[in-house]
């Protein structure tokens, strides 16, 4: 099955081979870039369709079924509509900042995708410090949000962009620290090494993924919460809270620039889910050894679609958090929990030597306990539910 697995790699080598050696470097860079943009833009179209159909089915509706069979051409229709729509720039807006904002919002998200290993030796750029590159690109995205908010000189978009930046900054720390846990365990910043460290199978069956370790599970959950906040998805979709500030920083945009913003948001979503898969769910490894014959890139994109389905499910169900609750949750719950997780992985590292009979299990339970107890304490501090909601409702005759 190696042929199918390495299909794309051999395809690229064949393509690069066509050119004279002097041009080969440029061509291989171009082919990788084209592959990334092509694949993820296609995935973006599928996700918009999936989102509309999924949300509809959650809400007892049909979802698009008029444009093409089962509404499959709906993303095409949306794209054409975005292109045709008139592109209005508010008269008082700051032209340059207003037009540059979508570009600054989209480009970093796509660049971040370059670092994620999609399949066996199928990674566009194998940086030694891949993780730092990913988070650097995450940082640049915020400037795009600010430029959009400030550029359109509108109170709602100003409020939206301020909320957006505050949210992104305060959730960047838990995101980076929960990813740091894996770096400490694996010992390298390069994503390819992290995926290779998760190769192999426990007792021949279960894959050796990080998520099956206590600190991995904790890290995964924390990472997912921070990722939802970082990519502005419900229940943290405050910057573009429709019912309050309409479309937040994207308010004064129409036509193609508005579509660019959504492209940026979804690329951010793919990037963050891709990173979660690489760090905790074993990148392109199969979960069980007997399933290993399926090509590697199919595993990666399969998991990515599952993540997208999870985000859509979340978006259909949960209401939105308020701005101050969001911040309180970030600093009072996420940051302490992530620090505890660092301690847990250190404990895991130093108890690696316990190979006696109950050692593995005891080690697992010990780390899990070290994580779970602070979780209970912090949850009580932040949550409102347990002690204050017993409302007694009198019934008058």
């Amino acid at each position: 099955m190696n042929a199918l697995d390495q299909l794309f790699v051999s395809l690229k080598q064949w393509l690069v081979g066509l050119f004279p050696t002097s041009l080969q470097l440029g061509v291989s860079v171009f082919v990788s870039a084209a592959a990334i943009v092509g694949v993820y833009a296609g995935l973006f179209a599928i996700t918009t369709w999936l989102e509309r159909k999924g949300l509809a089915r959650l809400q007892n509706r049909m979802g698009p079924n008029r444009v093409g069979p089962f509404g499959l051409l709906q993303p095409m229709a949306d794209g054409i509509k975005a292109l045709i729509k008139e592109d209005i720039i508010p008269q008082r807006a700051d032209r340059l900042v207003h037009t540059l904002a979508p570009i600054v919002a989209v480009v970093p998200a796509i660049l971040a995708l370059a670092v994620i290993p999609v399949g066996q030796n199928m990674v566009a750029v194998d940086l030694a410090a891949g993780m730092v590159f990913f988070f650097a690109m995450g940082g640049v995205k915020e400037i795009g949000v600010f430029m959009a908010g400030w550029g359109s000189r509108n109170t709602y978009s100003l409020l939206g962009s301020m909320r957006g930046i505050a949210q992104m900054i305060s959730y960047e720390m838990p995101l980076v620290l929960s990813a740091l846990v894996v770096v400490m365990a694996v010992g390298s910043l390069s994503l390819v090494d992290i995926v290779n460290a998760q190769a192999g199978y426990h007792a021949g069956i279960l894959a050796r993924w990080n998520v099956f370790t206590p600190w991995g599970l904790g890290g995964f959950l924390l990472f997912m919460v921070a990722a939802t906040a970082e990519s502005n998805r419900t229940p943290f979709d405050l910057p573009e809270g429709e019912s309050e500030i309409i479309a937040g920083h994207m308010l004064e945009y129409s036509g193609f620039k508005y579509a660019l913003f959504f492209l940026g948001e979804y690329m951010g979503l793919f990037a963050v889910s891709g990173l979660a898969i690489t760090l905790f769910l074993g990148g392109w490894h199969a979960p069980f050894s007997f399933l290993a014959w399926i090509p590697s890139w199919m595993w990666f994109f399969g998991k990515l679609v599952c993540f997208i389905a999870l985000f859509i499910w979340l978006r259909g169900t949960l209401p939105r958090l308020r701005a101050d609750q969001l911040m309180e949750f970030a600093y009072k719950f996420m940051v302490p929990m992530v620090l505890v997780n660092l301690v847990a992985v250190a404990l895991w590292h130093f108890t690696a030597g316990w190979t006696f009979l109950g050692g593995g299990l005891l080690r697992w339970v010990l780390c899990a306990a070290l994580l779970f107890l602070p979780f209970l304490g912090l949850a009580r501090l932040v949550s409102k539910r347990p002690h204050r909601i017993q409302r007694v409702y009198r019934f008058a005759e």
Partner: protein, 169 residues
């Protein structure tokens, strides 16, 4: 690939000049971001890949946003358009020109800056890590302490004290 450095250098200088001369301070902040990105790319040119990434992460990701945030808070992004105050500008630019001229002259005159680049092993991250936690661990802990103290100090200074001393009306 020789043309890369001059292009990036001019971009950085233009960004820096913009950062200092735009009337609207928001434009100044955004052109500072351009300058910082230019410097990050020059680091890549020099082979210090990790530093370039850290530079983008710290400066563009955090410092620029902080500056822009404070501009919003202090309502100075409108830019009263004070631009370069004429009289002191001559003095300021003059002294800066002198300092910069001195630097450039010593760079141009001293011969030993023209020697070719030696072979440099790629700085492995692992070696960097060991050095940091090895013989430079004191500096690492020092920078950690410094950052925490700075954050706490910043919060205390900027804290909005509604009651204690009312701003004189």
């Amino acid at each position: 690939m020789g043309f890369v450095f001059p292009l990036i250098a001019t971009l950085t200088v233009l960004g820096a000049v913009g950062a200092m001369s735009f009337r609207k301070s928001i434009h100044a902040a955004l052109s500072l971001v351009v300058a910082l990105l230019g410097i990050a790319v020059t680091y890549l040119g020099l082979g210090a890949e990790f530093i370039a990434l850290v530079q983008v992460l710290v400066y563009v990701g955090a410092v620029a946003i902080l500056v822009v945030f404070v501009m919003q808070l202090t309502r100075s992004e409108g830019g009263q358009g004070e631009g370069m105050a004429v009289r002191p500008a001559a003095l300021g630019v003059g002294t800066a020109g002198l300092v910069c001229g001195g630097l450039i002259s010593c760079v141009v005159l001293l011969p030993d800056f023209r020697t070719p680049w030696p072979e440099k092993a790629d700085v492995g991250l692992a070696r960097l890590g060991e050095a940091l936690t090895g013989d430079y661990v004191v500096a690492l802990e020092g920078i950690g302490l410094l950052l925490t103290v700075a954050i706490i100090g910043a919060v205390l200074i900027a804290l909005k004290r509604p009651n204690k001393e009312e701003t004189p009306e």
